[in-house]
Amino acid sequence: MEPSDQFTTYQVLQRHGVDRRDFLKFCTQSAAALGLSAAFVPKVVAAMETKPRIPVLWLHGLECTCCSESFIRSSHPIAQDILLNMVSLDYDDTLQAAAGFQVEEIRHKIMKDYKGQYLLAVEGNAPTKDGGVYCTVGGESFLKVLQETAADAKAIVAWGSCASNGCIQAARPNPTGAMPVRKLITGKPIINVPGCPPIAEVMTGVLTYILTFDALPELDRQGRPKMFYGQRLHDKCYRRAFFDSGQFVEAWDDEGARKGWCLYKMGCRGPTTFNSCSTFKWNCGQGWPVNSGNPCIGCAEDNFWDNGPFYQRLSNVVVPGIDSTPDQIGKTLTVIAGVGVGAHLITMAARKQASKLKTPEDGAGQAGEKE
């Protein structure tokens, strides 16, 4: 893998034998994927023709590589090889041919030659306990590699739930002290692209946007691109009508399940998950979990592993030593309050009884108490 040069995307595509016609098709598809009108296509074309490719360093920390697996299956904008030409992917230990010191050298060269210009893509997160020894890359702790590479990056793209939220390695009890990128790096623009993995087209869409407009997409409160994480799955779900009418699947393979009713009572996290699954879908738009009769597990949301069990609407609340849902806690507290009330009543009645018994003899005494 060669370090990035100053070629534009169009030049690179030409060198790969892509003709003008296919290039324009690619630009149109990219614009469509970003939700831009046809009027923006010339702008996309101009960007691809004139702007040098952005060097990208893609780091892998504690992760399962599902983000990369998803990414290379992107179908719009076009296939992954074109996109890999669009950006100059100079370091990616999963995809690169080089290995060992050679590639670490490339990373350092890019960091030096393109100071403040390269994009840092992070897949996975960094364990922080015990000096970060639970994840090492090239003999260095990943924590150090991340901080070092982030220092001169133009912006950081946090791929997947690991990098954005922490995901399973940061789930309770988080033995390695794994922390998402946003908690480790400050002072750099960070784009969170959560999901386990994120949808392929969302990943390529984010990169296309950055390349085309030389700007970061508009982010929401949690640092996610609004264009892909602006709505809940629930609000675009094709089973929403069953939710509103109150028709729910009650058990796997019951009548409702066969009729395709709402999976809310089976623990569907659609109402609490912001992602594009119900619109973009997965695997070239073939389907998504709800489509195949399985509730959403909310993989794009913060703490989704800790919000289990997945197939239960109300999750268990972790109170030290107790494992119960809010309903159980609420009922217990109400019963305790009721028992307290009852006990108070009984005590009061008993005292009254006692004072009544006393009264005949205490007739004179009570008058004396008045003083």
Partner: protein, 241 residues
């Protein structure tokens, strides 16, 4: 304590009409009942939304059960906001009883009053009764309004999720990342709803207990307004007006 050993019977020279005092003004009573009804509806519809028990059969377009429950929930949420707004406004402009019981946790005398009230409730003899709210009641109402505030903020944050960038999202949407995601917000909203139920149980019991024990007409007073007092009963602090 000297205050406890008060006579149970009122002095014979005061007839009931003379012992009447107009305590809860109309806005206070209005707010109370708006809140009471709203909380009842909110809790029941909330339980239904969390766990929809009824399952209508047939085509989806024939039903709107969940939609109706959510509609009721949202409508009564607005009613509760209005009810609380009335009460908060009246806290500042109403009579002194509207402010009674406020926890002056920065004053030594308040801690004394709380201790005295605890002693009072564990005794059966009539001690110093507050014509307005007593100090323990004051704590419970502040806690109640805090819980309602929490339910309001989290509830409207969830309500605003269908329209990110909209009014409610801008106003209270910050709670979602603060509580660790939308799902957690649902959980907390659900849990605190139960705490309000616990409050209701205690509130009803104490009100009936006071009414039976002190014969001060406390339960009637939230419908009609006046309470009965006896010489020596604590009047409300005059600390704002």
């Amino acid at each position: 304590m000297a205050t406890i050993a008060q006579p149970n019977a009122p002095p014979a020279n005061l007839d009931p009409i003379e012992r009447r005092r107009y305590v809860w003004e109309f806005p206070v009573r209005l707010s109370h009942w708006v809140n009471a009804i709203a909380i009842g509806v909110l809790f029941l519809t909330g339980l239904f939304i969390a766990s929809p028990v009824a399952a209508p059969n047939g085509e989806a377009y024939n039903h709107f059960l969940m939609g109706k429950m959510r509609l009721l929930h949202f409508a009564f949420a607005y009613a509760l906001v209005v009810g609380i707004a009335i009460r908060v406004y009246w806290f500042f402009v109403g009579n002194n009883y509207a402010r009674s019981g406020f926890p002056f946790f920065w004053r030594r005398s308040w801690y004394k009053a709380v201790f005295g009230q605890v002693v009072e409730y564990t005794h059966l003899e009539r001690g110093h009764i507050n014509i307005g709210h007593n100090s323990l009641a004051g704590i419970s109402y502040v806690a109640f309004f805090a819980m309602c505030g929490f339910e309001g903020v989290t509830g409207f944050a969830l309500y605003g999720e269908s329209n990110p960038g909209g009014f409610w999202d801008k106003l209270v949407g910050w709670t979602t990342p603060l509580l660790g995601g939308s799902f957690r917000v649902h959980m907390w909203h659900h849990l605190v709803a139960w705490l309000i139920v616990v409050f209701v149980v205690l509130h009803l019991y104490i009100a009936i207990y006071d009414s039976v024990l002190y014969k001060n007409g406390i339960v009637d007073s939230i419908i009609a307004g006046p309470k009965f007092y006896e010489p020596g009963d604590h009047d409300a602090d005059k600390w704002i007006s």
